[in-house]
Amino acid sequence: MQILIPDSWLREYLQTDAKPKDIQKALSLCGPSVERLHQRGTEFIYDIEVTTNRVDMMSVYGIAREAVAILPRFNFQTKLLSDPFITKLSFKTANSVNYLTVKVDPNLCQRFSAILIKNVSIKSSPDWLVKKLELVGMRGLNNVIDISNLLMHELGQPIHTFDYDKIASHTMVLRESRAGELLTTLDTKTHKLPGGDIVIEDGSKKLIDMCGIMGGLNSAVDEHTKNVLLFVQTYEPVHIRRTSMSLAHRTNAAVLFEKDLPIESVLPTMEKSIQLFKQLTGGQPEPITIDILNEKPHSKTVTASPDFINSRLGINLTVNEINTILSSLGFTPQVPWWRKNDIMIPEDIVEEVARIYGYHNLPSQLMSGDLPTNRSNESEFYWVSRIKSSLKYWGFTETYTYSLTPIDTGLKLKNPLLSEWSYLRTSLSHSQVISENLGRVKELNLFEIANVYIPRKNDLPIEELHLVISTTNSDFLKFKGVIEALQTELGTNFQFEIATHPTYLSCEINLAKILPIATGLRKFTPISKFSPIIEDINVALNTKYDTLINQIKKISPLIKQIDLIDKYGDKLTLRLSFHSDSKQLSSEDIAPLRKKLISLSNQT
C-alpha cells in the first residue's frame, strides 16, 4: 500500500528536530519504507510504502505514532503532540435510535455507527483543507466529501456520508447481496453484483451502498442535501476484498477495509468528523450516535522472554533495553489495539525489538555447524550445465521460451492470463522462435533445456527435463553428428529421433532418462605395441550404411575401426584399421580378409 504524507501535516502530531531527509532515512531503516521524498515549494512530501500487515500506518497519525518510536533511536528529540484516539466523546451512543431503523448481519460488520447531522450547508471547503488534500493528490469537491477524505487520510478510518432524505423510510438493512443485483455507484458505474457482497438496502428495498467500497449514486450527498447521515464502520475484510477484486473496483476505502480495521478507531473518528461538520457545514448533530458492536474490544498479551528475543537476534539486550523499545511502540505490556492482527506470536515481538534496535546495528557472520549429509541428486545439475556448455561451443544458442502454450495438452489452466497461454506444455518446440527469427540471421542453431509437464489423473503432473536442439541448416548428417557428439560427451548411447520440419530440423530428448546414467568415466584400453595396418576400400552401398558396417565387422575381430572417408553417389570409401594386440600384422595376415571384403562388396 502506498501513502503520501506531507511533512507539515505529520508535524501537526509530531514534534521533532529531525529534518525530512532524516525522517526518510530513519523510517526506511526501521519502519515503513519512504521510497521518495518530494519537494513542492517549501513543503516536503513522503511517499511511503506500507506493508499489508501494517494498515495502522496508513494515515498521517499512524506514521507519526511509528516515528515517535524510531526517531529517538537516531538521537532526535521527538514526541507526540496529541493522540486523536484518546478523546472525550461529545455524544452518547445507543444500539438503536429514533432517526434510523437498522438491521445488521453481525457476520458482515463488526461495528456499525452512524449519526444524523441536520441542516448542513453544502459549499466548498476552506483553503487550508483544499490545500491539504491537493498535497496528497486529491481534489477539493465540497465540504462534506472533503471532510471524509481528510479524515480517512489523517486517521486511516474511511467515512461515508448519505443524503439522509434519500434513504427510504430511514431504514437500513445491511446484508449479503444476491448474485445479479444491480447497483450504481457514485462514479455512475452500474455493477452487476457477483453475490455475497456487503450491501445496504433501504426501506424501499433498493440498494443504496456497496459497503466499504463505494456508496450508491441514489443516496449520495449533492448540492441540495440538507441532512447528512454520517457513517463510520468496520467490515468483514474477506468480503470486501472479494467484491473489490471481482468488480475491479479498488477504492482507497476498500484497500483499508480489506485489511481488517480495528473497531477502536471508529468512535474517535466519528468525534473528529462531528467537530469538523459543525465547523465547516454548520450542521447540528443528533445527541445520540447509533453504535452496534458485533465484536469484543481488543485485549491481548503475547509473551516472549529476553532469552528468546536475544537468541533470535544473536546479541544480548538487557530487559530494560527491550522494555524501552516495546513501550515506545505502545505495548503496555498488552499489545496495542491498533496492532491486533499483526502481533500474534513471540516472533512478532522479536521483530519489533529487532527493527527498532536497528537491523543495521546487528553484526553479520556466516553460520558454523554441521552440513547436511543427505545429499540430493546434484549430478543432474552438473550434466545439464555440461550439455549447455558443449552445445554453446558447438555453435548453438540457448533459448528460454514460456512453458505456456495455446495447444491443448490436457493440462489446462483455470485462469490463464491470455488465451495463447492456456495450457502447460508437454513437449519443447522451437517452431515459434524459428518463425520469428527467420531472416534475421543466416542460420539458426538453437537449444533449450526445460521441464515439460505430463498430466496425470488426480495427481501433480510429472515434471520431465527435456532438451530440444534445432537448426535451420538442412545438412541432416551434420545435425545428427551434434547429437552423436553429445552421446559421447554424456558417455551413453541414448536413443534419439530427428524431426524434419519445412524450415528446420529438430530433436527432442528426454533428459530425465539420460542424466541418471550419464557418466564421465571412460574404459581404459592399453595402447598396443603393434602398429595397425590401414587400408582404404571402395564399396558400393546397396544397403543401409549401418548394416554394411555390421557385415564388415563380422568378417574378423582384427578389423578394429571403420571410418567413412568419402561418399560419392552410392560409392563409399571406407578406411579400415586392422590391428592385433598380440602381434605385428603383416600384409600376408590380412590377405584372406581382403578377399572376404571384396566378395562382400560384390554381394551388396
Binding site: G31, E347, E351, R355, P372, N437, N451
Partner: protein, 340 residues
C-alpha cells in the same frame, strides 16, 4: 639410437612442412626413404642392437618411417603461410560459438556461490499442491496470493488434503519439501526453479525464475542471515557493493526483511536511477514457526532463515546490465540472445 631416430623424425618433418615445391619434396623423399636413404642406413643397424632394445626400437623405427611417408603424402602445400603478400591482420577463422541465455549464466553463478558455503542445490516441483505453495507456509486462505488474480491454477480436481494444483508463484514450496526430504536439520538448501505469476509488464513476465535459500539448525539467528546475504552480495555483485536489511512483511517469515543492495551506478550516494542509493533485491526472513511445524521440525529447538529472490531481477542489478523491458528475456529474439 632411440634419440637419433627421434631427432631424425623432427628434422625430416620440419623440412617437409617448410618445403614449397614438388621438386624439393621429391628430393626429401629420396633423402629419407630412398634405397640408400637415411632410414635404410638405420635399418641396417637394427639387427646389431642388444636383444632387449631390438623390438622397442624396431617399433619406433616403423612409426617414424610411416610418419615421414604420411607427411610427404599430405604436404603438397605449406600449412603456415609464407607468401609475402599474406595479410596477418585478416580476421581469424573462429570455431563455432553459440550463446548461453542470461538466465542460465545467472543461475550458474548463483548456485556456485552458495555451493561454496555448503548449500545443497535441489529441484522441487514447479507445479505443486496448494499445501506446499501456500498452506504449509502459513498463508491464510484469504491471502491475496491465493486468489485467482495473482496465481495460476490448474483446472483439475482438488486433492482432499493437499488442495488445488498451482503453478508455483515462488520457490518457497521447496521449504517444507526439503524439511520432509531431510527429516531433520541441519538444512542448507538452494532451490532454483521456474515460477509463474499472473502479470506481464516491463518489469514482470508471467514466467520467471527464483532462487530460494533455506537454512535451519540450532542457534540460527538474524546475524547469520546478514552474514549469508553479505557473502552473496559481495561475491555476486562485487566487493564495492553493500547490502542492508529493512523491515518488510511476509507470511512465511517472522521477522521479515527487504534486502537492498547499493546501486551499481552511484554505489549508494543516490542518483536518478535508484531509490536514494539503494536497489531492492528481494525478501528474506527468519522462518516462521508454523512453517517449521509444517515440515515436522520443532520450532522450540531449531530456528532458520530463508530468502527467495528473482533470478532475472538479481542479474539485472549487476553492473552495467540495463535491460529496459524484462519481457525481452523471453522474446528469444536472436539479436538479443547473441549479445550474451
Amino acid at each position: 639410437m632411440r634419440e637419433k631416430l627421434l631427432n631424425l623424425k623432427n628434422e625430416a618433418l620440419a623440412q617437409i612442412i617448410s618445403a614449397t615445391d614438388p621438386e624439393e619434396l621429391e628430393h626429401l623423399r629420396a633423402h629419407y626413404l630412398g634405397k640408400s636413404g637415411v632410414l635404410n642406413q638405420f635399418a641396417k643397424e637394427l639387427p646389431l642392437l642388444p636383444n632387449d632394445l631390438k623390438s622397442e626400437t624396431g617399433q619406433l623405427f616403423n612409426e617414424i618411417k610411416s610418419a615421414i611417408a604420411d607427411a610427404l603424402a599430405s604436404n603438397s602445400q605449406a600449412s603456415i603461410p609464407k607468401s609475402q603478400n599474406f595479410d596477418s591482420s585478416l580476421p581469424g577463422i573462429r570455431p563455432p560459438l553459440g550463446h548461453l541465455h542470461p538466465v542460465t549464466r545467472a543461475i550458474d553463478e548463483i548456485s556456485s556461490i552458495f555451493e561454496k558455503i555448503g548449500f545443497i542445490r535441489v529441484r522441487y516441483p514447479e507445479v505443486d499442491w496448494d499445501w506446499y505453495a501456500f498452506e504449509s507456509l502459513n498463508m491464510p486462505k484469504s491471502h491475496p496470493a491465493r486468489d485467482d488474480w495473482e496465481t495460476f491454477f490448474v483446472d483439475a480436481p482438488e486433492h482432499p488434503k493437499l488442495g488445488k494444483i498451482v503453478l508455483t508463484p515462488h520457490t518457497s514450496n521447496g521449504q517444507v519439501r526439503e524439511m520432509e526430504r531431510l527429516g531433520q536439520p541441519p538444512i542448507r538448501m538452494i532451490n532454483i526453479a521456474k515460477c509463474y505469476r499472473r502479470q506481464s509488464d516491463v518489469s514482470h513476465t508471467p514466467m520467471f525464475h527464483q532462487f530460494e535459500g533455506l537454512v535451519v539448525d540450532e542457534g540460527i539467528n538474524i546475524t547469520h542471515l546478514k552474514g549469508t546475504i553479505n557473502y552473496f552480495v559481495t561475491h555476486f555483485f562485487g566487493l564495492e557493493r553493500k547490502s542492508r536489511l529493512r523491515p518488510n512483511h511476509f507470511q512465511f517469515t517472522e521477522p521479515s526483511f527487504e534486502v537492498d543492495v547499493t546501486c551499481d551506478i552511484c554505489l549508494g550516494k543516490g542518483c536518478k536511477l535508484c531509490k536514494e542509493g539503494w536497489l531492492e533485491l528481494g525478501g528474506a526472513g527468519m522462518v516462521h514457526p508454523n512453517v517449521l511445524r509444517s515440515g515436522k521440525i520443532d520450532p522450540k529447538r531449531y530456528t532458520g532463515f530463508a530468502f527467495g529472490w528473482g533470478v532475472e531481477r538479481t542479474y539485472m542489478m549487476k553492473s552495467g546490465l540495463k535491460i529496459p523491458d524484462l519481457r525481452l528475456l523471453y522474446s528469444n529474439d536472436i539479436r538479443f540472445l547473441n549479445q550474451f
